[in-house]
Amino acid sequence: MAAQPCLESLSLGGVTTDVLRAGSGRPLLFLHSGAGPDWHSRDHLGLLSARFEVIAPFHPGFGRHERPRHFRSVDDLAYFYLDLLEAMSLEDVVLAGAGFGGWIASEIAVRSTARLGRLVLAAPYGIKVGGVEDRDFVDFHMLEPAERTRAEFVDPRYATLSYNGKSDEELTVLARGAESEAFYGWSPFMHNPQLIHWLHRIDVPTLILRGREDRFITRANHDAYLDRIADSRMVLIDQAASHPHLDAPQAFAAAIAEFAGTGAPATVAA
C-alpha cells in the first residue's frame, strides 16, 4: 500500500475545500459518499493509490469549510469539478463516485467526458426509475440514526453508531456533511429527475458497482444505468451494502483497477 494520503487545501473560483492526495499514475478522482473521502476509513484511498494518482476532494460544503454561499444544487458541484479537472490539466481520468458522489459523477459525465477515460459509479444516487409512489431509495432521513447506520453497512465496525471519543472538529465535519447532503439532496430526494434523460451522453466505459447487501437503493434503479449508458457493466460486491468502498475496500479497489486496465482481474463475482 502507498503512503498515507496527505491533506491539501484547494481554492478554485472563489471556493475553498480540502483534498486528500496519494499515489501516482493514472489520475483517479474519487467523489465521496458520507461526510468526506476519509469518512470512517482511508483504506480504500490507500488501496487505490497503489495503482493511481488519487485525488479525493471534500465536496464544497463538506469537511472543514462552509458551503459556498452561491452553491445551490448538484449542478454547482458538477461544474466545480469540471473546473477542477481543467485547472489540474487532468486527462484520461478515472472518475469514481460513491453514493452521493456517484450522483455528482453522473452529472459531470453527462456534461462532458472530454477529460474522462473511465467512469465508476459505486452505489450511486442520482436517478429515479420507479413511479410516483415507489421508493427507489429508502428514506434514510426517517430512520432512527442507529438504525440507519446498521442498515447502510455490513462491516460491524461501521454499522455501530457511536460519537464517543470524537473531537468537536470531527463532529463538526459529520454535522456539516449531513447538512450539506440534505441541502443538495432533500427534494427531489437524492436525484435529479432530468438526469436519467441525459445518461445516454456518457460515452466512456462505465462500471456500476453495487453491494450485494445494498438495502437503500433498488436493483432496478442501478440496472437503469446499464440500460441508458452504452458501454456499461455492473459488478456486484460481496459483503457490502451502501458504501462498497468502506465495507469491501479490497474488492472495490480491485474492481476499479481491473476495469481501468491497471490491475489484475478482480476477485469479485460479476
Binding site: 445551490r72 432521513h141 426517517m142 430512520l143 432512527e144 440514526p145 442507529a146 440507519r148 453508531l161 460519537y163 470524537k166 468537536d168 463532529l171 463538526t172 459529520l174 454535522a175 456539516r176 449531513a178 447538512e179 450539506s180 447532503e181 440534505a182 441541502f183 432533500w186 427534494s187
Partner: protein, 407 residues
C-alpha cells in the same frame, strides 16, 4: 397584562400507544377517530369563544402529523374565531413560515383574518418545529435563509400599497404581488416571534417584534434580558412590557388540590411533546452546526427540557413525571387556587422584569372541557383583573451597564 387562552388541541386518546410507538410524525391516522377529533376540536373552539366572553384573548398554534396537536394549520380556527368573537385579540402563533411554500398566500390569509376581525389579529412568524420538516418536506438545511426571506416577503406583501411588486429571491419567486384585501391594522398586525434561546432574541430585538418565551423562567429571563440589552446596544429606550410574552401551563381549582390536579393534566403537553422520533427532532441542518454537535455529544441520551428542569430555588425535577407542584418552582406552570395562582404569576412576573402578555395554556392532555372552562372562569374572574393592575418592576438599566463596560 393580556392573557391568551391556549390549547394545542391534543388527541390524547392514543397517547397510551406511546408505550410502543411514537405519537408524533409517524402514527398512522387510522388511530384518529374523526368523531373524537370533532368533539375535541369543537370543545377547543368553544373554549376560545368562552375566552372572548370572559375577557381573555385567544392564542392558536399549529403542528402537523401529530396526536399532540390536531390543529394542522392555525388559519382555519383563526378565521372562524375572527367571525365568531367580538373583543378578543386573536394571536396566531403561528403560521410556521419556514415550513410553507407560499408566503404570499400566508399574507393573504392573515390579511383576511385581520379584516374579518376588524383589526384584532396578532401573528407569529415562526420557523417551525423541527418535526414539521417531515410533513412539509421543506429542506431543513436551507431553513434559516428561507425563513428570513419568507418573513421579509410576507411583511412587504402586508404593507406595500402601490400595486404589484416583484420578488425574485433565493427561495421565492413572484412577479405580481398585490394582496387583496390589505390588513385592517396599519401598517400591519403586531408580529410575534417565539424564542427558545437567548441567541435568537437578538434578531427579534433588532426587528422590534414581540418576543415570546416559554419553557421556564430561567430561560425566559435570559431571553428577555438579551432582548433588553440588545435594545440598549441599539440606543433605543427600554422596551415596553408589550414586547414580552411568557407562556405557562396553568390550572386553577376551587381548592389547591383541584388546581394542581388540573395543572397535572395540562402538563400532558410537556410529556407528550417528547414522544417524537429522534430523527424528526434533529433533521440535518435544522439547527446550526454547534447545536447539532451538542446533540451528537448527548446521543443517544434524549433528555431535554421536558424531562429535566431546574427550579428558581436550584432544585432539579422532571417536569413530565414529578408532582405538578414542581412546575411552579421553575415557572413552567402555575396551579392551585386563584389566590395562589395570582401570587405565583406575580412572583414570576417580577423575576422576569415584567411582561405584557401571558400565553396561558389552560388545557392540555385529557383535561375535560368542563374542568377547562371552570379553570378559565376562575382565572378570568379572580386572577386576570389583578394581573392587569400589576406594576412592572424597575427595569434593569442595560444602557448604564453598557456604558460602564466601555469605561
Amino acid at each position: 397584562m393580556r392573557a391568551y387562552y391556549f390549547s394545542e388541541c391534543p388527541y390524547p386518546d392514543v397517547w397510551p400507544r406511546s408505550d410502543h410507538e411514537y405519537i408524533r410524525g409517524t402514527l398512522p391516522n387510522t388511530y384518529c377517530d374523526p368523531r373524537v377529533a370533532a368533539d375535541l376540536i369543537n370543545y377547543r373552539l368553544d373554549e376560545w369563544l368562552l375566552a372572548d366572553e370572559i375577557g381573555m384573548d385567544i392564542m392558536i398554534n399549529e403542528h402537523r402529523s401529530s396526536a399532540t396537536c390536531i390543529t394542522a394549520s392555525c388559519m382555519p380556527p383563526g378565521a372562524m374565531l375572527a367571525k365568531m368573537t367580538q373583543k378578543a385579540r386573536i394571536l396566531l402563533l403561528g403560521p410556521t413560515i419556514g415550513m410553507r411554500r407560499d408566503p404570499v398566500g400566508i399574507a393573504e390569509e392573515l390579511a383576511y383574518i385581520d379584516v374579518v376581525s376588524r383589526g384584532r389579529l396578532e401573528f407569529g412568524l415562526l420557523k417551525g418545529y423541527p418535526a414539521e420538516v417531515a410533513p412539509s418536506n421543506m429542506n431543513p438545511a436551507s431553513l434559516a435563509g428561507r425563513y428570513v426571506e419568507a418573513r421579509d416577503l410576507i411583511l412587504k406583501a402586508l404593507t406595500y400599497r402601490d400595486g404589484p411588486f416583484n420578488w425574485e429571491g433565493e427561495h421565492f419567486h413572484y412577479r405580481q404581488v398585490n394582496i387583496w384585501p390589505r390588513p385592517y391594522q396599519d401598517p400591519h398586525p403586531p408580529v410575534w416571534v417565539t424564542c427558545f434561546s437567548p441567541f435568537s432574541a437578538v434578531e427579534v430585538a433588532n426587528q422590534g417584534y414581540v418576543c415570546a418565551a416559554s419553557v421556564d423562567a430561567n430561560l425566559a429571563l435570559a431571553i428577555f434580558n438579551t432582548y433588553r440589552r440588545r435594545c440598549a446596544e441599539l440606543g433605543r429606550p427600554n422596551p415596553n412590557q408589550d414586547r414580552f410574552a411568557y407562556m405557562a401551563l396553568i390550572g386553577l381549582g376551587n381548592t389547591e388540590e383541584e388546581g394542581l390536579e388540573r395543572l397535572g393534566k395540562v402538563r400532558g403537553w410537556t410529556w407528550s411533546s417528547g414522544i417524537t422520533p429522534p430523527q424528526l427532532m434533529n433533521p440535518p441542518g435544522a439547527m446550526p452546526i454547534p447545536g447539532a454537535v451538542a446533540a451528537m455529544k448527548k446521543y443517544p441520551d434524549r433528555s431535554n427540557w421536558a424531562t429535566r428542569a431546574t427550579g428558581l430555588d436550584g432544585s432539579v425535577y422532571n417536569p413530565s413525571a414529578d408532582a405538578p407542584k414542581h412546575l411552579i418552582s421553575s415557572g413552567m406552570g402555575f396551579g392551585g387556587t386563584p389566590d395562589q395562582v395570582f401570587e405565583q404569576i406575580k412572583a414570576c412576573y417580577t423575576y422576569l422584569g415584567g411582561f405584557g402578555h401571558l400565553n396561558a395554556m389552560m388545557h392540555g392532555g385529557d383535561l375535560s372541557h368542563e374542568d377547562t372552562t371552570d379553570s378559565m372562569r376562575l382565572f378570568a374572574r379572580e386572577v386576570l383583573p389583578r394581573l392587569k393592575e400589576l406594576v412592572p418592576p424597575e427595569p434593569v438599566d442595560f444602557r448604564a451597564q453598557i456604558e460602564a463596560a466601555r469605561v
